[in-house]
C-alpha cells in the first residue's frame, strides 16, 4: 500500500503526460450553480488560460466547524481539499492533488518532520524501469525540477515514517485531480504557506474515502 505512494513521483520526474482520466473530480461552477466534471484535459486548458487554479482549489479561508484544535490538518481526498483548522470556526482550505485511489487509507497521523526544497530518491523498482529515474538513483537534489516541489511535510505514525508526504509539485494544474497513486500534492505557493504555519507534531487526519476502510463481512 505504501509503496505506491512514490509512483506519482515517477510521472512528475519523467515528464510523462498524465494519462489517467480523473473521471470523479468535479468543480463547482458558480455561474451555472452546478458541479461540473473537471478532468485532466480541462484542467490543463484552464491553467494555460488563467495561469491559476479554479477558484475552488485556491487557498482561502472558509467556515469550518470542528471539535479539532486549531493547527490540525484535515485531508479530504474525495473533494481535493486540505484544511488547516483555525480558531473561531474557520479553516484555511487549499486544493490538493491525490492518487487515483485517493490516499488509500484513512486515519490519524502527525507531521514528523518538514523540509524545504526536499531531495528525492526514486525507489529501486522505479530506477529499474525508468531511465530518467535511474539518473537520480543516488538522489535528486531539491530544486524547481524536483517532483517534491518547494516543501514537504513527512507524515509519521507515532515515530515511524509512513513514507506519505504532503509536498509541492512541478505540475500545478494537477491540483484537484486524481492523477496517480500516492502522496498529497499542493502547488508550491500553497505548500510553502502551509509549511510556514504548521509545527512539527501537528495532528493530521486523513478522511475515509469510499471503500478505503471498507472491511467486508
Amino acid at each position: 500500500m505504501r509503496r505506491v505512494a512514490l509512483a506519482i513521483l515517477a510521472i512528475g520526474l519523467s515528464g510523462v503526460i498524465l494519462t489517467d482520466a480523473a473521471a470523479q473530480t468535479q468543480i463547482y461552477d458558480a455561474r451555472i450553480r452546478k458541479w461540473v466534471d473537471y478532468d485532466k484535459k480541462k484542467a490543463r486548458q484552464l491553467y494555460a488560460r488563467n495561469k491559476q487554479l479554479p477558484e475552488a482549489f485556491r487557498m482561502q479561508m472558509v467556515p469550518f466547524r470542528t471539535a479539532e484544535k486549531p493547527g490540525t490538518i484535515i485531508i479530504d481526498g474525495n473533494q481535493h481539499f486540505l484544511y488547516l483548522v483555525q480558531p473561531g470556526g474557520q479553516a484555511i482550505r487549499y486544493g490538493i492533488g491525490v492518487g487515483r485511489e485517493g490516499f488509500g487509507w484513512a486515519g490519524i497521523v502527525r507531521v514528523g518532520r518538514t523540509a524545504e526544497w526536499p531531495p528525492w530518491t526514486p525507489p529501486a523498482e522505479m530506477v529499474a524501469r525508468d531511465a530518467n529515474a535511474a539518473k537520480w538513483a543516488a538522489g535528486m537534489p531539491g530544486g524547481p525540477g524536483n517532483p517534491l516541489g518547494a516543501r514537504a511535510l513527512y507524515l509519521y505514525e507515532g515515530d515511524d515514517d509512513t513514507i506519505y508526504r504532503i509536498h509541492g509539485t512541478t505540475e500545478p494544474w494537477t491540483i484537484g485531480l486524481d492523477v496517480s497513486s500516492g502522496c498529497i500534492r499542493m502547488n508550491n505557493d500553497d505548500i510553502t504557506d502551509l509549511h510556514s504555519r504548521v509545527a512539527v507534531g501537528a495532528k493530521v487526519i486523513v478522511l475515509m474515502q469510499g471503500a478505503a476502510l471498507y472491511k467486508g463481512v
Binding site: 479530504d76 469510499g210 478505503a212
Partner: protein, 318 residues
C-alpha cells in the same frame, strides 16, 4: 457505539484506585468522576450545587466505574453522576437490586443511537426506508464507484457489527458500502461534508457534541421491538449472518447513583439528587462545551450553576 464502548471502557479502566487513605477526610462527600465529558461536567455541577445549597464540601475523585461502585458500597464514594443502562445492568443488578447498597435516582436522561444525516443528505433521505432506494443513496458516493458509503462505527465497537446486521436486515447493505473507521475521523468527515454542503449519512448517538456543532437529523425508523431484535451471541463467528434486526436500537438511559447510606447521612442531598432533571440536549451541551470549546469541567460547571440558579434552588427546596 462509543457511548456503550466508552462506558464499558470506563468499567474496565482502573482509574485512580481507591486508596483507603485519609484523603477524603477533609471533604463531607466524595463524587466519583468518570472519564467522559458529560460525566465530568455533571460531577462538577453536583459539587458546586451541593456546596451552594447545603454548604457541604464535596471532593471529586476520578474513578473507573467498577471502583466507583466498590466505593459506593464501602462508603468511600457517595455519588456517581452518570450510570448507563443497559451497559451497567450487571453491576446495577449486584449493587442496586441485590445488595441494595446503591440507589439509582428515579429520573434519568434518555440516550439513543441510530443513523443520522447532514442537511444536504436529509433533503432526500429522511428515513431508513430511503436508504434502500439506490437512486437516493448514490449521492452518498465518495469514491466514484456509483455506490454510496455509510459509516457504521469504529472497528472495535460492538455496535458496529449490529449496524451491519441492521443494514442487512433493512436491506440497504445492498446499495451502500458500509465503512468502518475511528470515530474521530468519521466526525471530521461530517465536519468536512457540512463545510462543503455534501450529503453524508452515518451512525450516530445522543447525547453527543456533534449535535451542538452541526445541524444533524436522525433518520426515522420503526421503533425497537424486542420480538424483532434477534442478535446472536457475538462469540459465534457467524453471528452477523445469523442475526436480524430491522428495527431501531433499544433506548439507553443514564441516571445519577448514590450510596444508599447517604439517605441517612444527608437526606437533603439525596432529595436534591432525585430532583435533578437534565435533558438529553443539556448533556449534549456539556459534551460540546468540554470537547469542542475545551472548557475546563469546573469552569463549565460554575457558569452552568450561575445560569441555572433558580432550577438548582428548586432541586434543593425542602
Amino acid at each position: 457505539m462509543s457511548n456503550t464502548l466508552g462506558r464499558l471502557a470506563g468499567i474496565l479502566s482502573v482509574g485512580a484506585m481507591l486508596s483507603g487513605g485519609g484523603l477524603a477526610q477533609a471533604a463531607d462527600l466524595v463524587i466519583a468522576m468518570p472519564n467522559w465529558p458529560s460525566g465530568q461536567a455533571t460531577a462538577n455541577i453536583l459539587k458546586i450545587g451541593i456546596a451552594k445549597e447545603f454548604g457541604l464540601d464535596a471532593e471529586i475523585k476520578a474513578l473507573g466505574e467498577l471502583n466507583a461502585f466498590v466505593g459506593l458500597e464501602s462508603g468511600e464514594v457517595d455519588i456517581h453522576p452518570e450510570v448507563w443502562r443497559p451497559n451497567l445492568d450487571a453491576v446495577i443488578e449486584k449493587y442496586v437490586e441485590q445488595k441494595k447498597v446503591v440507589t439509582l435516582s428515579k429520573r434519568g436522561v434518555d440516550a439513543w443511537q441510530g443513523l443520522c444525516a447532514t442537511p444536504a443528505a436529509a433533503k432526500d433521505i429522511k428515513s431508513i426506508a430511503d436508504l434502500a432506494d439506490a437512486s437516493k443513496t448514490t449521492a452518498l458516493d465518495t469514491d466514484g464507484d456509483g455506490k454510496g458509503e455509510l459509516w457504521i462505527g469504529a472497528p472495535t465497537w460492538s455496535s458496529t457489527g449490529i449496524e451491519r446486521i441492521r443494514a442487512n436486515s433493512y436491506g440497504y447493505a445492498d446499495n451502500l458500502t458500509l465503512v468502518e473507521g475511528e470515530e474521530e475521523v468519521a466526525m471530521v468527515a461530517v465536519d468536512a461534508a457540512i463545510a462543503t454542503e455534501q450529503p453524508m449519512v452515518f451512525a450516530c448517538y445522543a447525547p453527543h457534541y456533534i449535535f451542538g456543532l452541526h445541524q444533524i437529523s436522525r433518520l426515522a425508523e420503526p421503533a425497537y421491538d424486542v420480538g424483532k431484535w434477534k442478535i446472536a451471541s457475538g462469540e459465534d463467528p457467524l453471528w452477523v449472518s445469523k442475526s436480524n434486526a430491522a428495527v431501531a436500537w433499544p433506548t439507553a438511559r443514564f441516571n445519577i447513583a448514590y450510596a444508599s447510606a447517604l439517605r441517612n447521612k444527608y437526606p437533603d442531598v439525596t432529595r436534591f439528587l432525585e430532583r435533578i432533571d437534565f435533558t438529553t440536549e443539556e448533556v449534549t451541551q456539556m459534551s460540546y462545551a468540554l470537547e469542542v470549546e475545551r472548557q475546563k469541567p469546573s469552569d463549565f460547571a460554575k457558569a452552568w450553576v450561575k445560569n441555572n440558579l433558580a432550577r438548582v434552588d428548586r432541586w434543593a427546596k425542602p
